[in-house]
Symmetry: C2
Subunit: 158 residues, 2 copies
Amino acid sequence: MEMNEHETFMAEAIRLATENVTNGGGPFGAVIVRNGEIVATGVNRVTPSYDPTAHAEVVAIRNACQKLQTFKLTDCDIYASCEPCPMCLSAIYWAGLRHIYYGGTQQDAADIDFDDHFIYQQIPLQPSERSIPATNIMRQQAQQPFDAWRNKEDKTPY
Amino acid sequence: MEMNEHETFMAEAIRLATENVTNGGGPFGAVIVRNGEIVATGVNRVTPSYDPTAHAEVVAIRNACQKLQTFKLTDCDIYASCEPCPMCLSAIYWAGLRHIYYGGTQQDAADIDFDDHFIYQQIPLQPSERSIPATNIMRQQAQQPFDAWRNKEDKTPY
C-alpha cells in the first residue's frame, strides 16, 4: 500500500510509540510537521523521567519550539499516535498548532488503562465541584504580579 | 497581620510571580508543599524559554517530581498565584496533587489578556466541534504500541 503524506507521518508517530515501549516509556508518540517535513518528535517519558507532564505531544511541542526558537507553532501540524489528553490538547491550543491527526482513540487508551476520560470530565466543572479541592485565597494580594505586568513596558505578550 | 501557613505559601507564590515579571517571564508563580515545607517552585517561562508548556504550575510539578524522584505528588499541595489553566489543571490531575490553593482568578488573568477561558470552552467539545480541526486516521495500525504495552511484562503502569 502506498501511503499518502499524512499516513507517512502517522506511521512514524506509531513507530516511535512502539519503540518507546521497548525503551521503558509509555505507548505514545507524536510528530510535529511543518511544510511537509518533520520538525520534532516526542514520546511518553513519564515514568522513566519522573515527569508527569512528559506526554508525547508535550515533549514534541517543547522540542519543536526549541528547534524553531519560538513559543508558537501556528504553521505546524501534529500527528499523535493516540488522541491527546486534556493536558496535551491544552498545550496544543497554547502552541497554536494548526491541525491534529490522531491514531488511537480515548477508548483505545482506556482499554489499556490509560484513562484520561475522568480528567476530560473534571475540567469543565466549577472548581468547587471537582475531585481535587480548590480554595481561593489572597485574591487581592495576587494582583501585585498582574500590576507589575501592566506597568512593564518591554514585555513579551503571548 | 500574622499569616497562617496557607497565606505564607501563597505569599511566596505571589512574590515569585512578581519577581518573574522583572526577570522577563509571565506574571505567574507556583509553590508545591509537602508536610508543611516547600518542595519546589515554578514560574512562567513561556517566552524567554521558548516553551509554551512552561507555565508556573507545570514547571513546579516538574521540579517537585525531579526533586522527589517520583511521577506522583499525592501527598503534596500546590499554591498558584493565579487559577490554573486547563493544561496546568490537567497536569495537576496527572500528578495527583491533593489540594489547589489559588490567588488570582481566571477573570483577573483575562483582564491582563491572559485568557484561558477559550481553552476551557474548547476542551469539553467533541473533536469535530473544536476550533483546531482533528482527524482520526490509521486507528487500526495505532493499536501496535498498545499491543506492545499489553505484552510487556516489566512495565511501569501509572
